[in-house]
Symmetry: C2
Subunit: 149 residues, 2 copies
């Protein structure tokens, strides 16, 4: 048996390896959505995530945005710099704690949100159309389990 005899090495089959499948699927889906607004609004995925969170929770601090988007604070800081610069997000400092910023979408930010949110939702719908009702329930249940601690 030579050193490179395959069965001795049990090579990984990427196409059935769960982490790999998740990675490919996730990238494909995210990229397809991003393609739809990235150019048109000059808006990155990280920027869009920040906007989506601020649409739901006005007045959050940067750290809270980072928590809710699962992004690190450097990425959030940079996304915010661009969004504030572009007039899409307003930023002031917290009254009681001058380290914290208080963030919210501006009217312009809301206008973009109101176009991009339905667009993202429609992409999700198109994806979910590939599944029947039963499969969607299982998917939700399984993702919750996999994502838990």
């Amino acid at each position: 048996m030579t050193a490179s005899h395959k069965s001795a090495h049990a090579p990984l089959e990427l196409e059935s390896f769960l982490p790999y499948r998740l990675s490919i699927l996730s990238n494909t889906v995210s990229q397809a959505i991003a393609d739809d607004y990235q150019q048109r609004y000059h808006l990155s995925v990280t920027e869009w995530r920040v906007m989506a969170v601020l649409a739901r929770f006005e007045g959050l601090s940067a750290r809270e945005v980072a928590e809710r988007t699962a992004m690190d604070k450097v990425a959030v800081s940079r996304a915010l710099a661009r969004l504030v610069e572009a007039g899409r997000v307003s930023r002031c400092t917290h009254d009681a704690d001058k380290r914290r910023s208080v963030l919210a979408l501006t009217a312009e930010g809301w206008a973009i949100h109101d176009v991009v949110a339905p667009l993202a939702r429609s992409h999700e719908s198109r994806l979910l159309e590939k599944l029947d009702t039963e499969e969607r329930h299982w998917l939700d249940r399984i993702l919750r389990k996999l994502a838990s601690g």
Copy 2:
């Protein structure tokens, strides 16, 4: 009704938005695995994917590696440069077509493979332990459907 009245804007709930959930899950899982070998072997995820493919299919060209890893050819070219430099992959030119390279793991490459592959598999197992047999079947079926055309 003010301009920022929430229900008028229907903000996206990231935590139930499928593309977002996939992205978080995929990143968490991949990072956890990478943490286990990245430092120890000074091996990036892209490099590992290339090695995993070469473990299964000896003699592939760079383009074929790119196809099988779903990476672009630039990423593959760079990963290969590092792997060849590190003595983990051997590269020669194809007899009949001098543009193509013929790639394979070296003994050293196999040695690393034989540590990292079981390690990756065990991570996957730990992840799948969160699911019962029925859920695993559904997951496989659902991922196949979502990933199709």
